[in-house]
């Protein structure tokens, strides 16, 4: 099914659905509260049975950007090979999205990674905790307002000397 037909089908239920385009990459832009419905429709009605990508980007100080975080879902139809990207914009302090773990079990670690790196909360995730950084880490390192060299976390350890080891 071509992309335009999918958009037309989804617009019947979500009239304010938008699309953007960059070169040959066309995406659906949805509101945060529509994310689950749109992705569920893509899975159940259009056969997009695989979530191959779930990531985010921080647009802080990005030229002409109007929103802070963009969360990107990439879904694929494994029978036809079609791929559709769905993008949702988020702004502080409302950094919450519905979890799509109920649709694709593979969303588990992907959502945990986005939470770990950006602090975006996925409501309904069964086990939302940090996946890469240590539990005690307090910052979200891929945010653009986090310094490249960190805030001293990498040197916050006891020093073992010859005399005590």
């Amino acid at each position: 099914m071509p992309f335009d037909a999918i958009v037309a089908s989804l617009k019947a239920k979500h009239p304010n659905l938008a699309t953007t385009e960059f070169r040959d990459n066309r995406r659906l832009v949805v509101k945060p509260d529509q994310v689950f419905d749109v992705l569920q429709a893509l899975k159940t009605e259009h056969g997009f049975d695989m979530l191959f990508e779930l990531t985010a980007a921080d647009y802080l100080k990005y030229p002409n950007a109007t929103d802070r975080f963009g969360v990107v879902y990439g879904v694929a139809n494994t029978k036809t090979g079609e791929r559709v990207y769905v993008k949702a914009w988020l702004n502080e302090p409302e950094l919450t999205l519905p979890s799509v773990f109920a649709l694709w079990k593979g969303a588990d670690w992907l959502e945990r990674e986005v939470y770990d790196m950006y602090g975006i909360v996925f409501a309904g995730h069964p086990d939302l905790r940090r996946i890469l950084m240590p539990e005690a880490f307090t910052s979200y390192p891929l945010r653009k307002d986090y310094p490249l060299r960190g805030r001293g976390e990498r040197h916050n350890f006891p020093v073992i000397t010859r005399a005590e080891s």
Binding site: N156, F157, P158, I160
Partner: protein, 193 residues
């Protein structure tokens, strides 16, 4: 082989023990990155670390006396490194192999420790990215010379080194400053504003 060896030889215990220790180092390969591949090459037949008595790589720290930190160590791994170091019995030595283990290398990011010598004592530093096996062999030869010269019986000669000798941690930066890792000479800070 007719050699005129006397029945009894006298020697001081310390140099004798040091001589034995220097020629029978048991490495603990703490290999986390590409330096670990060179470490394996050093142990393989072409370079043959066994020529220097250090071929017995043990993966239990209880059986080792030489830790070879080969590769970058991130902040999540450093407590593991320290724990393994503490589990190794005295006498023990440490080789920091490669640029990343010695200084963090090109990985000047929030997660990578900028040199393991900030947190554990290091005896030998091997430069290179990654070092050639010959360089690692040279560091083992140098470490043998160091052990023969300084030695250890109960670790007493290390009493003097109780102070932290590595570079100090970098101070906390303001949140809106982005630091470019490239300009190491002036350590210039680039702001996006």
């Amino acid at each position: 082989m007719a050699m005129n060896i006397p029945d009894v030889m006298l020697a001081r215990l310390d140099p004798l023990a040091n001589w034995v220790r220097a020629n029978s180092l048991w490495p603990m390969p703490f290999a986390t990155a590409c330096c670990g591949i060179e470490l394996m090459a050093t142990g393989a037949s072409k370079h043959d670390i066994a020529r220097f008595g250090a071929e017995v790589m043990r993966f239990s720290p209880r059986q080792c006396d030489l830790m070879i930190v080969a590769g970058r160590v991130v902040m999540k791994m450093l407590p593991v490194l320290q724990r393994i170091w503490m589990q190794m019995p005295e006498p023990k030595w440490c080789i920091s192999m490669g640029a990343c283990a010695s200084s963090g290398g090109v990985f000047d990011t929030y997660a990578v420790v900028q040199g393991v010598d900030r947190f554990i004592p290091v005896d030998m530093y091997v430069p290179g990215c990654p070092p050639r096996p010959e360089q690692l062999l040279q560091s083992i030869i140098d470490l043998q010379a160091k052990i023969k010269a300084t030695g250890t019986f109960q670790g007493t000669e290390f009493d003097k080194r109780v102070e932290h000798m590595g570079p100090l941690p970098t101070p906390e930066l303001p949140a809106d400053v982005v630091v470019a890792p490239g300009d190491y000479q002036k350590s210039r800070r680039i702001s996006l504003n």
